[in-house]
């Protein structure tokens, strides 16, 4: 498979597990897209993520901990991209957090991450995230936006075995992410967004050389 076939297969497989996959030209486009997703989503309530639901008192309190300002978490961007994102967020009236994510367990609206690579066979993102903030950004956000270079898409999991072994050579946390968090535990009805993100967006930057 060549690069465009792999991109095609990845897109198809990721969409099959209800991820949104978009191709963007540059990182700046990806940042603008992310802010847009956040601006269009209503803070917490619209996603039926629970706040309008009847909760026990301690759970209600945790929800109250979240500031009623919308938040984007983006812990692993390049400095230059962070600066661009800061100004985009400022214009849109959105808060940006780069660290200390554990304090926001009540919920972050959008988590932005850079994927290390992907596996097209299953539509899987691979994110090396020993950094706790990066890990949390992909876990506690309601929407997870991941940026991926098309040159980093591999056909099969076996093709990345060596890269994984490389990550694992020291203390490490690596995540395979395929679609949004899901469950079928009640009557085998598929439901998205149990503990992790309710929505996954993958932005593929095409045409860049493999990182």
């Amino acid at each position: 498979m060549n690069r465009s076939e792999r991109t095609e297969q990845f897109t198809q497989k990721a969409r099959a597990v209800s991820a949104t996959v978009k191709t963007v030209a540059t990182m700046d486009d990806a940042l603008a897209y992310t802010v847009d997703v956040c601006a269009q989503k209503q803070a917490c309530a619209i996603l039926a993520s629970g706040c309008e639901h009847a909760l026990s008192d301690p759970a209600e309190e945790l929800c109250g901990l979240k500031q009623w300002e919308k938040l984007i978490a983006a812990p692993n961007l390049e400095d230059r991209d962070t600066e661009s994102l800061i100004s985009l967020c400022r214009q849109a009236g959105i808060g940006l957090i780069e660290g200390g994510l554990a304090a926001y367990a009540g919920g972050i609206d959008v988590g932005l991450s850079l994927a290390d690579f992907a596996i097209s066979e299953t539509g899987t993102l691979v994110i090396n995230c020993p950094d706790e903030d990066l890990r949390l950004a992909t876990m506690i956000s309601e929407v997870h936006v991941a940026v991926l270079n098309s040159g980093d898409i591999y056909a099969d999991s076996y093709d990345v075995a060596d890269k994984l072994a490389g990550f694992f050579a020291k203390s490490d946390y690596t995540a395979f992410i395929t679609g949004a968090s899901r469950t079928a535990d009640i009557e085998r009805v598929l439901t998205l967004g149990v503990h992790g993100p309710l929505d996954l967006h993958v932005l593929i930057i095409d045409g860049q050389p493999s990182s």
Partner: protein, 716 residues
């Protein structure tokens, strides 16, 4: 969880399951959907080739478990994790509760782990006052209902949305909708606060990669990632059968497991954790990371010529999905903890004959499970093999003549011993020592300096009432051993006083025989093996947390030799290993249970020297507990250089080489005398016999006592 006592009860449970209309419908829909989807799930994949590769890779890994374990430890510890090894289920639970105690954890969040179900970990931790919250949605639901899983992958498949809604209404104290999406979101929010406030996370693992010391965990909900990230302590409980050499084999299994389990090409998340990662919640800035490997019979299974393939299982649950019986009655009636075809097999090895005796009957031998197994296990054949063993009750039908003599005529043997008590009188006079004992075990060896037989053997003095608490935390089988049963019953009786009326149930199985060590020492291995099988058949290791013995010789023989003696018999060797894992000596047991504390501090301490029985310090590898126990019991423990030197008894050795034996004994006596000890304490009735004889003959100023007497009796 199927727990019927007899087939009649089990049939009743099955009849009830058949009447559960919601479950019937749910399982039927599922069976049809699974069957119809299965080919599509493997589209584009050489399914048969993959199954064969997974089987081959798992077999290869199981044949080098020790090596993989060592490698894993080395890598994981280098990356900052602490690796523990638990021989039995209760040991794993103890280790985990100790980690929680040492790190001041009280709130625990858990992600799904069949291994933790196997050890009944939640129950154990909750008994010790920890709050344990399951965070997988289905597991949380059944935890709230106080049930076990009814499917290995979909634990709450037997419940309707209405039942879940009612349950959540109770839990939140607010009326809940029956809309599934809304119910899921309620769980999301309710559980999120638990992650935040937890100080310990417990997970299982699907893979333990030896090459890098990495754990791999599959999940769909994303709770595994929170469990392993948010709290400051992470404990992973992992069966040693999850060890594989490299990441490649993990990826291989990963191609088959989700497809066969739920029809997904891959689960939403696969989490790979190596060592201790950064953690904001931890004071040190690094996760406090522990990996507890559970054996619980697995290493013995791995060596079994027939059953080793059961360890290939990757817990996909598919053998239940296609089973016509599961489809009708569901997992609560078709498994103990492990469910479906593999459950019928593993229950026997992990949880014992009794838990499996009804289940194993319930198979049509239809081969559907075999056809679907992603690891290529010949499930129906293994089910037949287990069935045969269950039929025989773990006892061999034919006994060799010598073991047969001892066992079949056990009442006669006892009578002989007892009549010996009267016959010995003229010989021993008033001294409690006798010269001759019926030579059943010892053939022609003349047995010298044996103490007199007790007036009443232990078995006639045993009263189960004080040892039968209503809600025992531990169930313990007492292995009395011949010497303490018939000669020193007071050692057992005084030690048992410590365990009475508390949280420990002690069971004394009357039909237990001699441990067989004397026969083994005489080279009668076949007879010794028969006695081993007899004892294991009498005390099913699946029924007890510990098999407690006050005799270090019996203990080390059962721990070390039983597995060897029975290794060649398929299945029996595994049970011997399970039995051996649970054998524990008196001192270790008392320490582990936190008992034996001195009631009051004494102004002037009794000085206690210790003799370490060979069978305890080397045979069972127990060194510290007895010495710590002496101190805990209020003695001043006085060390001497000859503590770990043999007392010179050596079974029948002292009768073959009396001079050497006596010289060794003298040396020991002199060393003890030099410490100025008031008493000499040891953990084996054989040693007591030898040392007491020596002390008396040499008129030494110290008394010789078994540990059980020393810590419960009057201090001098």
């Amino acid at each position: 969880m199927q727990t019927a006592d007899n087939l009649g009860q089990y049939r009743k449970q099955l009849a009830e399951a058949l009447e559960n209309t919601f479950q019937r419908k749910a399982l039927d829909n599922f069976a049809v959907a699974y069957r119809d989807g299965r080919d599509a799930n493997f589209a584009g994949i050489d399914r048969d080739g993959l199954i064969e590769n997974i089987g081959t890779a798992k077999d290869a890994a199981m044949s080098r478990l020790d090596e993989l374990f060592r490698k894993f430890c080395q890598k994981a510890e280098a990356a900052g994790a602490k690796v523990h090894f638990a021989g039995s289920d209760v040991e794993a639970n103890e280790i985990i509760s100790q980690i929680a105690a040492e790190n001041n954890c009280s709130r625990i969040v858990k992600s799904k782990s069949m291994t933790a179900e196997e050890t009944l970990l939640n129950h154990f931790l909750e008994n010790r006052g920890y709050e344990v919250i399951e965070t997988d949605l289905g597991e949380w639901i059944i935890q709230l209902r106080g049930e076990g899983p009814s499917h290995m992958v979909m634990p709450a498949i037997h419940l309707s949305r209405n039942e879940v809604s009612r349950l959540f209404s109770e839990v939140t104290g607010k009326q809940q909708d029956t809309d599934i999406e809304k119910l899921v979101k309620v769980a999301r929010r309710e559980l999120r606060q638990r992650f935040v406030s937890a100080d310990m996370g417990i997970s299982g693992a699907n893979f333990a990669i030896a090459e890098t010391g990495t754990l791999g965990i599959v999940s769909n909900e994303g709770n595994v990632r929170l469990v392993t990230t948010m709290p400051r302590v992470h404990v992973a409980l992992v069966g040693i059968d999850k060890l594989i050499p490299t990441v490649f084999e993990a990826l291989q299994v990963l191609k088959g497991l989700p497809r066969n389990a739920t029809g997904q090409a891959i689960t939403s998340y696969v989490t790979w954790i190596t060592g201790a990662n950064p953690s904001a919640a931890s004071g040190s800035g690094r996760k406090n990371m522990h990996i507890v490997f559970l054996d619980n019979g697995r290493s013995a299974l791995a060596k079994d010529p027939v059953f080793s393939q059961a360890l290939r299982c990757v817990r996909c649950g598919a053998c239940a999905n296609v089973c016509p019986i599961y489809r009708l009655v569901g997992g609560h009636a078709y498994g103990h903890i492990y469910i479906g075809a593999i459950g019928l097999i593993l229950t026997y090895f992990f949880h014992g004959r009794d838990k499996d005796k009804n289940l194993i009957e319930n198979c049509l031998n239809c081969q559907a499970c075999k056809q679907v197994c992603v690891a290529g296990i010949d499930l129906p054949r293994l089910i037949r093999e287990v069935h045969t063993m269950v039929e025989h009750g773990g006892k061999k039908p034919v006994l060799s003549s010598l073991a047969g003599f001892v066992l079949k005529r056990r009442p006669l043997f006892h009578a002989l011993l007892r009549s010996g008590r009267y016959a010995q009188k003229p010989v021993t006079g008033n001294s409690p020592y006798m010269r001759h004992l019926p030579g059943v075990f010892f053939r022609d060896h003349e047995f010298k300096a044996l103490p007199a037989l007790a007036k009443k053997p232990f078995r006639d003095q045993w009263d189960p009432v004080p040892f039968s608490p209503a809600r025992p935390e531990y169930r313990v089988a007492l292995f009395s051993g011949c010497l303490q049963d018939f000669v020193y019953p007071e050692q057992l009786l005084s030690g048992l006083r410590l365990l009475a009326g508390g949280r420990i149930e002690v069971v004394f199985v009357r039909q237990q025989g001699c441990c067989g060590l004397p026969l083994y020492m005489l080279g009668e291995h076949e007879a010794a093996a028969d006695l081993a099988a007899w004892n294991i058949g009498s005390m099913d290791p699946g029924d007890y947390d510990y098999i407690l013995t006050f005799c270090a010789s019996c203990g080390s023989h059962m721990k070390e030799n039983y597995p060897h003696l029975l290794a060649k018999q398929p299945g029996t060797g595994v049970r011997a290993e399970r039995f051996a894992e649970k054998v524990i000596d008196f001192s270790s047991f008392v320490m582990r249970m936190g008992l034996g504390e001195a009631k009051e501090a004494r102004a002037e301490k009794t000085r206690a020297a210790y003799h370490a029985p060979c069978h305890l310090c080397r045979g069972m590898g127990v060194r510290n507990p007895p010495r710590r126990l002496l101190e805990r019991a209020g003695y001043e423990y006085v060390a001497h250089g000859e503590e770990e030197t043999c007392c010179g008894l050596g079974g029948t050795y002292s009768f073959k080489f009396p001079e050497i034996s006596a010289t060794i004994l003298d040396k020991k006596m002199a060393a003890v005398a030099e410490t100025g000890a008031d008493i000499l304490v040891t953990d084996c009735p054989g040693c007591v016999m030898q040392l007491r004889g020596g002390a008396q003959k040499q008129k030494r100023p110290f008394e010789v006592r078994h540990m059980a007497e020393a810590i419960t009796g009057k201090k001098r």
